[in-house]
């Protein structure tokens, strides 16, 4: 009954309560977003790495995938040695290069081009046509859509530095398919063609930029990475976990920003709730003193005040959750315009445990914020409280 009376007091001051709820909702939304941001991109990146089943990457020693022009020489032999490691299901070599589409006397901007083994690749999914054979390419869906390139079209492609030096060594290729390139940013124009074709065109025979490695069912990725590293020590073998750790390192700024803003949101929530509850308690000082005078236990009164804070915080969370999700979508759209970020990734990943933790924190802060005025009310000398109320 005492708790109910305390909650009714919130209803009596509707305008004030509504304002406080709005403030708590915004703070809770900000905290939710920062919680989602703290791990969102790394988690999303991890999901993307494993989406095609090739969860491990083998790169030149000390190099992250496509972080430099460095290549692995003797790619065929290295690929065979990796394939012989127990637990390896499949090995997919990739050679990255830049090609340009040549039209008449002009060459377009450089296009990211991947040399792949058509039977074992992890970079795209065919949406139309077939895997590329000799003299054929697969183009990315945005390239097909934006440049009007269809399956069966032909392109004049020039690779390497020759085109920049005025050597028009373009060759004609046929478009065999249109692919959904998993790691491309929004509207990126990309190409994929058999790796031998890229090696010949760029003068890098036998070279591979990286290998994607798929583990057999039930094989742990980290264990397999260690076995490959032991069998082929001249390269770096990176498990999904290691790549995510590196991603975490590079996105340290965002994680720290999320921590700072999340902390500020918690402080604002605490201030708002404690202000509202403190004022509410002061207004009901007389009622509280009377309750104490007629023998109501201090604990019950404290419980009523704390409940007030908890209810305010919980209601703020309920309003803040949809607001936070809406804000996350807007902020994600801004951050995904970062150059080079795959369009499939998200900066704000929904993780039920983390969201529950954020909301739980807000509610706990509500309870704590209620404790301060509650303790002050039940600890004040009863005679003084009654006298003040009478005056």
């Amino acid at each position: 009954m005492i708790v109910a009376a305390s909650l009714r007091a919130l209803g009596r001051r509707r305008g004030r309560t509504a304002l406080a709820l709005a403030g708590i909702a915004v703070s809770a939304a900000l905290l939710l977003d920062m919680t989602m941001l703290a791990s969102g991109l790394t988690r999303s990146f991890g999901d993307l790495l494993g989406v095609s089943g090739y969860a491990l990457r083998v790169t030149p020693k000390g190099i992250l995938p496509f972080d430099s022009e460095a290549g692995i020489p003797g790619g065929d032999a290295v690929g065979e040695r990796i394939a012989r490691v127990p637990g390896v299901k499949s090995v997919a070599p990739v050679l990255g290069a830049q090609f340009r589409v040549v039209r008449g006397d002009s060459a377009g901007p450089p296009l990211f081009t991947m040399g792949i083994r058509p039977g074992a690749q992890f970079l795209y999914r065919l949406v139309e046509g077939s895997e590329p054979g000799p003299g054929e390419v697969v183009v990315s869906e945005p390239m097909s859509r934006l440049d009007g390139i269809r399956v069966g079209s032909t392109l004049q492609l020039a690779g390497g530095a020759g085109v920049s030096l005025g050597r028009r060594d373009a060759r004609t290729v046929r478009v065999s398919g249109v692919g959904d390139f998993l790691y491309d940013y929004a509207e990126q124009r990309s190409l994929a063609m058999p790796i031998g074709q890229v090696q010949r065109a760029t003068g890098r025979p036998g070279e591979v930029s990286l290998f994607g490695v798929a583990a057999a069912d039930g094989v742990d990725g980290d264990d397999l990475a260690r076995r490959i590293a032991a069998a082929v020590p001249e390269v770096s073998t990176l498990s999904t976990r290691e790549l995510m750790r590196e991603m975490d390192r590079r996105l340290l700024y965002f994680r720290q920003l999320a921590t700072i803003l999340g902390s500020i949101a918690m402080v604002v929530t605490a201030l708002l709730i404690s202000t509202i509850v403190t004022i509410g308690v002061r207004e009901r000082f007389g009622e509280i003193a009377t309750l104490r005078a007629i023998g109501v236990a201090r604990g019950r009164i404290l419980l009523a005040v704390v409940t007030e804070g908890l209810v305010l915080a919980a209601a703020g969370c309920v309003a803040g959750l949809p607001l936070g999700l809406w804000m996350a979508r807007r902020l994600d759209r801004i951050l995904l315009s970062f150059p080079g970020i795959p369009a499939r990734m998200t900066f704000f990943a929904w993780e039920a445990e983390r969201v529950a933790l954020a909301m739980g924190l807000v509610i706990a802060i509500g309870g704590l914020a209620g404790c301060i005025p509650g303790l002050a009310a039940v600890r004040s000398p009863l005679s003084q409280a009654l006298r003040e109320e009478a005056e």
């Binding site: 005025g166 590079r250 700024y253």
Partner: protein, 268 residues
């Protein structure tokens, strides 16, 4: 270009080419002027070659490199070319124009010299390379709007509560003949006063936090870059925003009170 450095204590012998080592790398290894290092390019797979550390340099503070924050070494162009598998190749040229020459015309002419060549003015290049920071800036703006919204609600809440607390006093003032306008102005002035004090405290706090943030990141990345800047323009903007929000919050709280009949202001 990423290079692997294999250090070797080499006694004085044939003259070897020199290179410059970035200060952070020199401290991390450690290296000093006169030391000999063996260098090979990861891209080439060739045998390492010896170089003498001719000097240690401080890398220019470049926000574009801060995420990777790789160490750097600098070679004479011909020495670097000798390490790489490709010859007679450059990534880019920097071109200084003669006085009076027009950048646009020169860029267009350069682009006609070789198929696929692109020329950019320094401003154009800066715009292209700062795309990342434009995104970060937009993100900060969005977070700023949310923060302003939260602050505005908080301020409004505080003002409403303060005014509600003194409803009885306001009622008495009104009953003894103080006009609604005077009560309204008094509340708004009080709100502005709170906003001024809050803005001043916020500016001081902001400056302190900016110093802490800069010190932290300077230590973390070993850089002279400044991550947080509190400029006079930012302080003035924040103060004006605070004043405007304070005035609005005060006006809203005052409006709620002056709408009520004075005899009802004393009711609980």
């Amino acid at each position: 270009m990423l290079l692997s450095l294999a250090l070797a204590a080499v006694l004085a012998g044939d003259p070897v080419p020199g290179l410059l080592v970035e200060r952070r790398l020199a401290e991390a290894v450690p290296l000093g002027v006169g030391d000999t290092v063996r260098v090979r390019a990861l891209a080439s797979g060739r045998q390492p070659r010896p170089f003498v550390v001719a000097g240690v340099f401080e890398r220019a503070a470049d926000p574009n490199r801060i995420a990777r924050n790789d160490f750097e070494v600098r070679f004479h162009l011909s020495d670097l070319e000798g390490l790489l598998p490709t010859h007679d190749r450059v990534d880019r040229f920097a071109v200084v124009l003669a006085p009076g020459a027009r950048g646009d015309s020169a860029a267009r002419w350069i682009e006609t010299t070789a198929l696929g060549t692109r020329a950019y003015s320094s401003t154009g290049l800066a715009e292209r390379t700062s795309a990342t920071f434009a995104v970060v800036s937009r993100f900060h703006d969005a977070i700023g709007i949310v923060t302003i919204l939260a602050s505005a609600i908080f301020l409004l809440c505080v003002m409403v509560i303060r005014v509600d607390e003194r409803r009885r006093d306001m009622g008495v003032l009104r009953l003894i003949g103080v006009s609604r306008g005077t009560v309204f102005r008094a509340i708004v002035l009080e709100a502005i006063g709170i906003a001024v004090v809050g803005s001043a405290a916020g500016a001081v706090l902001g400056m302190i936090v900016a110093r802490i943030v800069n010190a932290y990141y300077a230590h973390l990345y070993d850089t002279t870059l400044r991550f947080a800047l509190v400029t006079p323009r930012i302080v003035i903007l924040a103060a004006l925003l605070g004043l405007a929000l304070g005035a609005l919050a005060g006006a809203f709280a005052a409006w709620r009170v002056v709408q009520v009949a004075p005899q009802k202001l004393g009711e609980r």
